[in-house]
């Protein structure tokens, strides 16, 4: 067949608007943002004088940004462990021929259907620690009522950051060998982030559960039977037969969840805001603040570019891998 048939032309015309839209609104806009991050555009009037990487260098000296990076690392690690742990546990339990399995599944998954804003508003009320005047409230009050008062704490209002003290033995040693930076409060764990992780896990763990349930469905019953015939206990069967087969699912879950945690924004806005001493602040929030409230467009563009590079590092290999695997099928 030579040249273009009429159907071929029509097929290209059908998809052209979307291709152009994605080319402009995704790739063109990303290019514009990356370019803006190299300029001096720090007020409402655009100023495209190039300043090299100065905006990036400056970011890494700003207290708020360094706190944001720390919080993102903390959030990502805790959120991944919690979602994968809870999701896998619930999926395996539901895989045990449970009565009312459908009901349980619906209950674990329904938070996925609602907005992070609603989640944030409700969890802020639940975790509101109360004050000395009002007494405890929320979950703290619940703890008191059931005799677990020692579990009370400030939740998202607690500015504590766990980090290595410079005056401790190890800290002094690190200082002497030139690694004193590791004792800064930017290398640590902000406790207030735990509250946001709790709300985010409430919302998203059902997603990992659904992924694992879909994976478990795909495992042939014969494999389980074979393990049982070989005398494996249920536990051994899961540990040695099922879990290794679920590994690809864990990998996709890690990639999807990690990229969500890099982008997390809505939940922080509605639940805690930046928090005391930026204890719950995240880069996406800082970007919004500095760009659309502070009119520092080049700085906002630099944060956005850093976020994008982080997400692309995770997603691009994954996309290449999954689409290639499909093409070779």
């Amino acid at each position: 067949m030579r040249g273009l048939t009429q159907d071929r032309v029509v097929s290209l015309l059908l998809i052209a608007p979307s291709v152009i839209a994605v080319a402009v609104f995704v790739y063109g806009f990303i290019a514009f943002t990356a370019f803006s991050s190299l300029t001096r555009w720090d007020s409402l009037t655009p100023d495209f004088t190039l300043v090299g990487l100065r905006n990036y260098q400056k970011l890494f000296t700003i207290d708020r940004f360094l706190s944001d990076l720390r919080n993102t690392v903390t959030f990502t690690l805790l959120f991944l462990v919690a979602c994968i742990g809870v999701g896998l546990l619930l999926a395996i339990l539901l895989d045990q021929r449970i009565k009312a399995e459908g009901l349980f599944r619906s209950i674990f998954l329904f938070p996925m259907a609602i907005s992070f804003i609603v989640t944030g508003v409700v969890w802020r009320w639940l975790l509101n620690p109360g004050t000395l005047q009002t007494g405890s409230s929320g979950v703290n009050l619940l703890f008191e009522k059931v005799g677990l008062g020692f579990l009370r704490w400030g939740w998202f209002t607690d500015p504590t950051v766990w980090h290595m003290r410079p005056e401790s033995g190890l800290g002094m040693f690190l200082g002497q060998i030139g690694l004193g930076g590791l004792t800064s409060s930017y290398v640590g764990l902000s406790l207030a982030v735990v509250s946001v992780v709790l709300a985010a896990t409430w919302q998203m763990s059902g997603y990992t559960m659904a992924l694992y349930l879909a994976g478990l469905l795909g495992i042939p019953e014969e494999l389980r039977e074979a393990a049982r015939v070989d005398g494996a206990t249920e536990f051994q069967m899961y540990f040695h037969v099922i879990l290794p087969l679920l590994r690809p699912i864990t990998l996709s879950a890690i990639i999807v969840l990690a990229h969500i945690s890099l982008k997390i924004f809505d939940l922080v806005v509605s639940m805690t805001g930046p928090g005391p001493a930026f204890a719950t602040d995240v880069p996406a929030f800082f970007m919004w603040d500095t760009t659309f409230r502070g009119n520092n467009f080049s700085q906002g563009a630099a944060i956005a570019t850093i976020l994008l590079v982080g997400v692309a590092t995770l997603i691009v290999p994954y996309l290449v891998h999954t689409t290639r695997a499909e093409a070779s099928e």
Binding site: S11, S18, A113, S115, T323
Partner: protein
């Protein structure tokens, strides 16, 4: 015999353990719903931190009335207008996105061309990007197009950034439909559009349901685009209005919880009645169509 009986008992204990964990987990997931309901049902006098876990004294709808209609004398905006904005926004964006996604998916699944294998992942990348990386030019372009600050502008944004996911779901859906059907129609002399209209469309209903539910839920729940594109309270979607309401110290907790429930209700209803399709969209998002 003895060991058999012992096994039976341990299996029963295991079952008990499993159900205990499941019930505790269910309690954890339902706790926020419980507090949402009881707080929303309380009267203004009953809302206090010390009594937040107690049942309301009766069914009070003042919270809902105030959340819906507002109270201009106290400077509290109601959510009714924003709720309707979101209905309009989500329905329009969903319809347009579904049509576009269906056409793209059809071409990418049944009319592959040189480079379509490269184009497809390039399009998909758009659904993973942090939208912060496109917000600055987006605002400028919308201002130039006179779409900034309006609901049509917001619809446009959702349709554009909905292209990757809707294309993905439809492409995987159409890829599962045997190509022989298309080939047979071609031999009968049907062109690309007629094949779409008479062969694919009649088979597309489940695909449309999955995509529509997915888009409706994500557009309804979106906050970032809403807060960036609309600045006037009268045109804001409900998530933005709810966040403003919750951030204001003059609004009581029962009103906030009532507002949160109103904002969650449409997508919750969709989930309750069409959950099966919702889960399919969810799993498609991790690329495992």
């Amino acid at each position: 015999m003895n060991s058999r009986a012992g096994e039976g008992a341990s299996v029963r204990w295991n079952r008990l353990g499993i159900y205990t964990i499941l019930v505790l987990a269910a309690a954890f997931y339902l706790l926020p719903v419980y507090i949402l309901f009881i707080t929303g049902m309380k009267s203004f006098q009953e809302v206090s931190l010390a009594r937040m876990w107690e049942w309301p004294s009766g069914l009070h709808f003042d919270g809902y009335l105030k959340a819906w209609f507002g109270k201009p004398s106290e400077g509290v905006r109601g959510l009714s207008e924003n709720f309707l904005n979101s209905v309009y926004l989500a329905i329009a964006a969903t319809v347009l996105s579904s049509v576009l996604g269906s056409l793209n998916g059809y071409v990418l699944a049944k009319w592959r061309f040189k480079g379509s294998n490269v184009l497809f992942p390039l399009m998909l990348f758009g659904m993973f990007i942090p939208y912060q990386s496109i917000l600055i030019p987006l605002v400028k372009v919308l201002q130039t197009l006179h779409l900034y600050g309006s609901i049509p502008g917001l619809i446009f944004v959702h349709v554009v950034y909905g292209i990757p996911i809707t294309t993905l779901i439809f492409r995987n859906y159409y890829a599962a439909i045997p190509s022989e059907l298309v080939e047979a129609a071609k031999i009968d002399g049907a062109g690309i559009l007629n094949i779409y209209r008479w062969v694919m469309c009649p088979l597309s209903l489940p695909g449309f349901v999955v995509v529509a539910i997915w888009q409706f839920t994500s557009v309804w729940n979106d906050f970032l685009f809403g807060v960036i594109v609309t600045s006037r309270p009268a045109v804001q979607p409900i998530t933005v209005a709810l966040n403003n309401m919750a951030g204001s110290y003059i609004v009581e907790w029962n009103v906030q919880m009532a507002g949160a429930l109103l904002a969650a209700l449409p997508t919750l209803l969709v989930y309750i009645f069409l959950g099966r399709y919702f889960i399919r969209g969810l799993l498609a998002g991790s690329l495992k169509g």
